[in-house]
């Protein structure tokens, strides 16, 4: 089937009909181009969302209190619920074995910090030692808040990379004092966070210190923890959903919040949220494939149509060939060979164009939700397979039709 003879026949037919061949190939190229672009953007969105979730530990759960909306046990709605250290202690006492990292935090919005002549304002959070892992914070200098800081109410703080860069410029911040509201704090560590600047412009205090300084008593803003890794993703989602449910019930009971109240006790379950996004992503990917394949299909139908016209146009030639002794199979192969060749070549062109386009434009469309649009090798290979197969399908039916024409009928054609 791949004899030089047949190739030269195909090239002859193609070179004599350049426009026809070009138009055929063009539709296939566009189809593949769109498929590749869609898949690339789909991959980019997946990367983007993954990056969003990389800010914090993926299996993190955060619980915070709010204002009740439902009357319960004689208490009016609109009551503010305040979590205390005791709530945290209770949760860790009851469920400690099920948790991997845990921390309660106390947050204040922004504070002004200064070092020498540099002054700027940053978010501050009072945290426990485990918080480092809950935040996915990587220590690049010094250390994180430790248990001693917590126990002894030290005025040690850990600052984000951005804070360091702004306040200290090139100076080594470790052991230096920064001032806020007239109080000096010692920098003991610098962290970086995959979440970027926004996450890195924070200052962490020991929780106990912060509660004392701000006169918060035993108040805490929220309770955060992660769960140990489960064998499967599904299992992890199931476990964490169940655990969060139990803790929610416990806390609601303690604070007399109605079980159906959705705002007195709030929580964010990363892994469950992530699952929603991944499910959405999977659906979106499916959709992209569907649209891509549909556009490819349109191209293939175009090829099939053009092949039909080609067969019609070549009816007389087919008749002559049959009169001279061409076997039906040789007619089928002649046309099939041409269509596979044309679809493969133009498909590859579309594929390469698509990849180049992704490469060129890809870096320019880095947004919060699209990052690194790319097409992996598997996809490229499957596209190529789809191509060759579709070329064969697009060519086969017209070819069979051509082979079935009776020579006597074909020869009469003018």
């Amino acid at each position: 089937m791949f004899s030089i003879e047949r190739w030269s026949e195909v090239f002859e037919a193609i070179s004599k009909n350049k426009l026809r061949t070009f138009l055929t190939g063009f539709s296939v190229s566009i189809g593949i181009l769109i498929l590749v672009l869609l898949l690339g953007v789909g991959e980019g969105m997946k990367n983007g969302i993954e990056l969003q979730f990389a800010q914090d530990a993926q299996n993190r759960v955060q619980i915070w209190s709010g204002v009740t909306t439902v009357e319960y046990k004689g208490l009016n709605p609109g009551r503010r619920v305040q979590f205390k250290n005791k709530d945290y202690d209770l949760v860790t006492k009851n469920y400690g074995d099920d948790l991997e990292y845990k921390s309660s935090t106390y947050q204040r919005w922004v504070n002004v910090f200064s070092y020498k002549e540099n002054t700027s304002s940053y978010r501050i959070e009072g945290v426990l030692p485990d918080y480092q892992f809950l935040e996915n914070a990587g220590i690049i200098q010094g250390r994180f808040i430790n248990q001693q800081d917590q126990d002894r109410y030290t005025k040690n703080v850990v600052i984000g990379k951005k804070v360091r860069n702004e306040l200290f410029k090139t100076e080594n911040p470790l052991g230096k004092l920064i001032k806020s509201n007239g109080v000096n704090y010692k920098v003991v560590g610098v962290f970086q966070d995959p979440g970027g600047d926004r996450e890195e412009s924070r200052v962490f205090f020991p929780l106990s210190t912060m509660q004392k300084i701000y006169g918060a008593g035993n108040d805490i803003s929220n309770i955060s923890f992660t769960l140990p890794k489960a064998a499967t993703y599904e299992e992890a989602v199931k476990k964490s959903t169940a655990l969060v449910g139990e803790i929610e019930t416990l806390l609601k009971a303690r604070h007399s919040v109605a079980p159906e109240d959705t705002s007195g006790v709030n929580y964010f379950n990363s892994i469950a949220e992530a699952k929603k996004f991944y499910d959405l992503m999977a659906n979106m990917n499916l959709f992209f494939w569907f649209v891509g394949i549909a556009s490819l299909l349109a191209g293939i139908i175009g090829v099939s149509n053009i092949m039909l016209i080609i067969v019609k146009e070549r009816t007389k030639e087919i008749g002559i060939r049959k009169a001279l002794g061409a076997q039906p199979s040789s007619i089928i192969w002649m046309i099939l060979h041409e269509s596979i060749f044309v679809t493969a070549i133009s498909g590859f062109t579309g594929l390469i164009l698509g990849l180049l386009l992704l490469e060129a434009v890809g870096s320019a469309i880095q947004t919060e939700f699209i990052s690194n649009p790319e097409v992996n090798l598997n996809v490229a290979i499957s596209t190529v397979i789809v191509l060759v197969v579709s070329g064969a399908i697009a060519g086969f039916f017209p070819a069979r039709r051509g082979a079935k024409i009776k020579p006597i009928v074909a020869l009469r054609e003018e």
Binding site: A13, L324, L411, E414
Partner: protein
């Protein structure tokens, strides 16, 4: 070479059936040059198509070189056409994107002859019809007479048992027609069996035998004194 007995063929035209061949008995020996004559509708083209295995008869037998031609599959028919028959058509039927040489070589391609050999054989037949220097020209660059010569070379290239010519001079002026007939006579003199379908008397008289067809039966079958085309050129 050709043996036909009681051949019938009819076509369906709407609801009616048109009986075109109504029992043809006819034989051709090796080396004969026969013309089949008749007005249009006499069935001569149908007969030629059946002889050429482009069409099939309903009734009757057809032997070609001792082989019975019957219930042929497409594949076998193609094979027989390739081995036994050479066609010459009124409208030449050359493939217009192939040059003269490639057109002549086409039957050999379907006989699986290697390219180099094919080109050599095709060239020798082009020389025979006097068109060696036109080998690389496309059919559109050739005159009608030249095209028919290429077609004749193509019909000969496959070394068939019988050459079937359908109104081969129908699209040519009389001078060119005679030149073509001269070539046909030459080939016949070398021993090739040739059947010519024509409705022109002068062309028919350049063959050795005339078979007259009317309304689907042979009304006359006689040997004639061959008029040499050379005298007219």
């Amino acid at each position: 070479m050709i043996e036909i007995k009681d051949l019938h063929k009819s076509y369906k035209v709407g609801k009616n059936s048109l009986h075109v061949l109504k029992g043809i008995n006819f034989s051709v020996k090796e080396g004969e040059l026969v013309s089949i004559m008749g007005s249009s509708g006499s069935g001569k083209s149908t007969l030629l198509n059946i002889l050429g295995m482009l069409d099939e008869a309903e009734k009757g037998t057809y032997h070609l070189d001792g082989v019975e031609i019957k219930n042929l599959s497409e594949k076998i028919a193609a094979n027989y056409r390739n081995k036994f028959l050479g066609f010459i058509f009124q409208s030449f039927n050359l493939i217009n994107y192939k040059n003269a040489l490639d057109n002549v070589a086409l039957p050999l391609y379907y006989q699986n002859v290697k390219r180099k050999e094919r080109t050599e054989i095709a060239m020798s037949y082009l020389e025979k019809v006097g068109l060696a220097q036109w080998a690389k020209h496309l059919p559109t660059e050739l005159s009608g007479g030249q095209k028919q010569r290429v077609a004749i070379a193509r019909a000969l290239a496959g070394q068939p048992k019988v050459i079937l010519a359908d109104e081969l001079t129908g699209a040519l002026d009389s001078t060119t027609s005679y030149e073509i007939m001269e070539l046909i006579q030459e080939i016949n003199d070398e021993g090739k069996t040739i059947l010519v379908v024509t409705h022109e008397d002068d062309i028919a008289h350049m063959t050795k035998r005339i078979v007259n067809l009317r309304d689907g039966i042979i009304i006359d079958d006689r040997k004639v004194d061959q008029v040499k085309a050379k005298a007219h050129v």
